[in-house]
Symmetry: D2
Subunit: 360 residues, 4 copies
């Protein structure tokens, strides 16, 4: 069984390769009667698209989305919503020299071994170009969740050695105001510098994204295996280049005592139960408890670098490699909408699992 | 859709509550003709069972497993293998005072809100007792994987503030030789002390487990959503009390450069491609590359503590709580076989997805 | 991927062999807060159990059901409900002579070829004994549906050459009043005679079951592949010995004209839309329309007969076979509760798909 | 959970409405390294397309298929294969008068009730136009099966009162040689006449399709619920306008004796086991036994007719209806490739379930 479908009730199937005719997604299970604003889908794609700034890949794709099905007179019909994005800026010759070479820390070797064939042009199906389909689908999921007040905000917390610390001020309004999507302009500027330096060095950087989900309805998540944090972890770890996932207290929980870590239930106004702290990260027993869901996701530095590297070709001969294709020196800024999209897809899926697919 | 099934091709469905008659698991999709050694299943359950040492819960369960189906003359038949474990040491009265109280950082509140009903005895379905079924199923998965030489080893890397550092020697033979399952006897002794101290303080500790999978066949994992690390992350984050997951370099990748992080392909003997480093953690493009799979999983301190805590009851009234039930001061040592079981279940599932369900 | 799970939202997984320790079922996705009456489960099992009359197999099984999980204080909890039935009347020596023989029109040959191994005792997993698990699960589904007034009635319409025709009176109260479960006492007596004659001839008979589902909520069924009649067809054709399925007009539709077949919408009282005829069989566009769902299911004559038959052994040598095991001369009477159970499981599944798994 | 996905391992998801921009399908799980001939896909679509003869709907669609993903240098890559067909001959005004009317025996009423919204143009998602996507996907499945010699042949056995009887000669070469796809030219001519007469009468006809699958590998089908005949039944009953399904002996089995119906195993040449008769229809115990799979599928007369009919509008008011849209007087001839496609999809799915998704 192949693995191009995500979700069980609000379920997406993505398709397409970096240098094929198009990428896209079929969303099955969106409840009927949801107003669909295609402009919002396009806006999310614009946040992700390549070539949007000096610190992203120079590949230019307009990433214009077309709705092929499932929307009638501005409303979802309960039938599959299909979103198509044509590839327009393929330059296959960029990649012909990579046909027989296994690039370090890319999917070339494993794809060739597993499938016996691979579309080597720009990574084919392994390319992060695939994530445009996730972002488009996530934009529909966000519209469903927005009906219930759910708000998803991701931002850059660390790039290379530059990181936000608890002492730094955080202002969500600044996120889209700088090239790295960091909610602190000063740190953002340092991060941009670090990326430009890496680019000049023909190298690349990793980073950490934090994602916050507010106004989550209580009751989402399905024990025991489909706990909400389990599905969120899978969602995030399915994004290219991710290496780690934390919910709530994350790895810091390992050195805390129960008496410190436990989130006491309180009822400050006598009419609504909440918790005094949120080490749980908004999820208890695998189910949302109404507090903000907080996650952190680690990204490795981009595997494609301009520096010369040693590797082997398909026959096992040692070769030297210098990347010639177009690539980002750091994926983190463009991964912000991807993280948000995957978060939205998980929540929308659990929302429909819990509430069924009756018309809104 | 409820969430008690894990895996798609080697697929398990678990059932049972902490204080019901039994817990168990149905495994569907185990290939036929696999020799099944029930003693090995029992041995894994014995590693997980309560009451096994002074630092675990005093609840005593023999956890005797019975095979109800799917094995004929010592071989799997290709039909569902059902494993049943009767509960024998329930003491429901231990829990009657918790009927209307929401214990901090437990599933009481979210279960009540989501389901409108909960079996409050020992956590009901939310209890970690459920993991016995995972361990039993994982023991079958291990037997399938062992046919192909796959070896899974988990151990305790950190408990509270005591941790193995890169300078410490690690000897896998010592893992089962101490109460905390740490591969360094000296550190293990410190960890035991820390747990005993926490127990004396009526408090609890968290920790970190490392899991290593060796001799993994190349080609397991299904892009794009069912990447091997994505399914491993889901598996681990579905275990009670987990807060973080890392594959390979994990969060440390965020501050590395691409030129440092990339794993060069090499062919040292001219007959087999491998990588010079393993920051990828044995997975590239979502597919196993033949290098060891390395994961780290963070566990929070146990939520049940003897210290008095503030919380609310179902009507929102403030109440004080002191745990009276039986519990572990630290789950990490008993979670070792659970982590191994979940790792085995993910690999067995992907093995069958790739190879089908023909007889072995 | 093996196939022991049925349904997507109200989802059952069955297990067990004819001569293993037990058979059973795990139901995942039953909404919480449903009153569960175990006596009703037992009553359905009693309708299916062997040895209930002179015209069924002499194997005697009490088929006592035990609930292992998922019910607390008489209510479903939203967690897996597990029902276990121990086998008590296995006589393995009955079957030892069949170890290497392929019985005509049984699953012996195909199981051996597919799995490379088979439990030859009483058909193993292929035995209709497996259907006890379906009946038990169906009894839970019926309790969910009964909350909404749904009523499922199956009865024998034909056995061998004896059939109910449109001119015969039908009285549902008589169904459980005769050995063949036919709603006309006179025809029932003829059917019993026919079965007794077949038994005396060491032969067997087939038949047709009609199933009627009344008070179905409008809106169940999921276009385009999971149309309600498609899932019902699958459900019925998964029962052993079934050879045909009809919904509404069935095969007679082939020779009707559109102007005859179309069901006009009417609104007789001005407050509720219905149809003047019901050739559609209660389903239009794959979705229930509120009219009674009507199905007919054809069963072949039992493959196990006492008469000598020619066949081959596993090495391809011609052998003669006379059945010595215990078997029914006609499965139709005992298949009535099985058909009802599968109908209930399909409807419950679609009910949960549509309404989600919120507490009742 | 919506229902636009079919299959578990060779899995298709279809999308699109009759009068939307396009219809299409994503195929996930096609094994890599399969040669893909797009001309064969187009040829199957041409067999199904509207306007192909005087007895089909006058809607003219060229149904040109475009491959969007999953094929590289003429081979499948193991990634999703997406096939897109643009709608070009929509005439929405044809349907505007149907906005508020429930056409008899159509999906208008149930869609409106279930979804609260419907695309009333030409039936929207309920239109048989959706089956073009099935045919396109089936053409890929056929190419996989052809690698193993599997051959699928469907033909018209009955239209209205005109039917092939056992005494008629059958010549598969004639199937594509007449407008109704009947393998007997004389009967075909009668069928064409019957359809022309129905058309002249502003009425419609039903019929029966027989489907034969030869050279099926032994071992396909997954007991107990995913028996091969169960999945075939679902596949066929998911096609618009189907009312009945038979495998092998079908309903005639009901009046046969076991000694007549049983298929004796034989070994005529001493090197290959087969059966002397094939009442089982090529499937025993839910698993293919190597004999030809034989099915019959009943189709109702087309619901859209030119004759005036009585029905109601959405407010329950009685209205008179005369169809003005374009439609077929009998769907059976164009349903032949649809039946073949669904048969191919079921077999391909079970082939991959059994053999995994390793490269061919």
């Amino acid at each position: 069984m192949a693995g191009n479908t995500f979700g069980q009730a609000f379920r997406i199937t993505t398709f397409g390769e970096s240098h094929g005719p198009a990428i896209g997604v079929v969303i099955d299970g969106c409840p009927p009667n949801l107003p669909i604003d295609i402009a919002k889908v396009q806006a999310e794609l614009d946040r992700r698209k390549p070539g949007q700034s000096a610190i992203t890949t120079p590949r230019t794709e307009s990433d214009q989305v077309e709705i092929l099905s499932g929307v009638f007179e501005g409303l979802s019909t309960g039938h599959p919503i299909t979103l198509l994005i044509r590839n327009t800026n393929q330059i296959p010759k960029d990649y012909s020299h990579l046909k027989d070479i296994y690039r370090p820390s890319h999917a070339d070797y494993t794809y060739q071994q597993k499938y016996g064939i691979r579309d080597y042009r720009g990574g084919g199906r392994a390319s992060a170009r695939e994530t445009a389909a996730r972002v488009a689908a996530g934009a529909i999921a966000k519209q469903l969740l927005a009906e219930y007040g759910v708000k998803i905000t991701a931002f850059t917390q660390q790039i290379g050695n530059i990181g936000l610390s608890p002492s730094h001020t955080v202002d969500f309004k600044q996120i889209e105001g700088n090239l790295v999507r960091c909610p602190n302009a000063e740190i953002a500027a340092e991060m941009v510098n670090a990326i430009e330096q890496a680019k000049a060095d023909k190298d690349s950087l990793g980073g950490v994204i934090k994602c916050l989900i507010e106004n989550v309805p209580v009751g989402l998540g399905e024990p025991v295996f489909d706990k909400l944090e389990a599905d969120l972890a899978k969602a995030m770890m399915s994004i290219q280049a991710t290496k780690g996932f934390e919910i709530g207290s994350g790895f810091s929980a390992a050195s805390m005592k129960g008496s410190e870590h436990n989130d006491s239930f309180i009822n400050p106004n006598g009419d609504s139960i909440s918790t005094s702290t949120n080490h749980s990260g908004g999820i208890q027993g695998g189910i949302s408890n109404g507090e903000p869901i907080e996650m952190r996701i680690a990204f490795k530095p981009v595997a494609t670098i301009g520096k010369e590297q040693e590797t082997v070709d398909k026959d096992g001969n040692a070769v030297k490699l210098e990347a010639k294709g177009r690539h980002d020196p750091c994926v983190v800024p463009r991964a912000i909408p991807i993280v948000e999209a995957m978060a939205a897809l998980v929540l929308a899926d659990h929302w429909v699992r819990y509430n069924g697919n009756r018309p809104l």
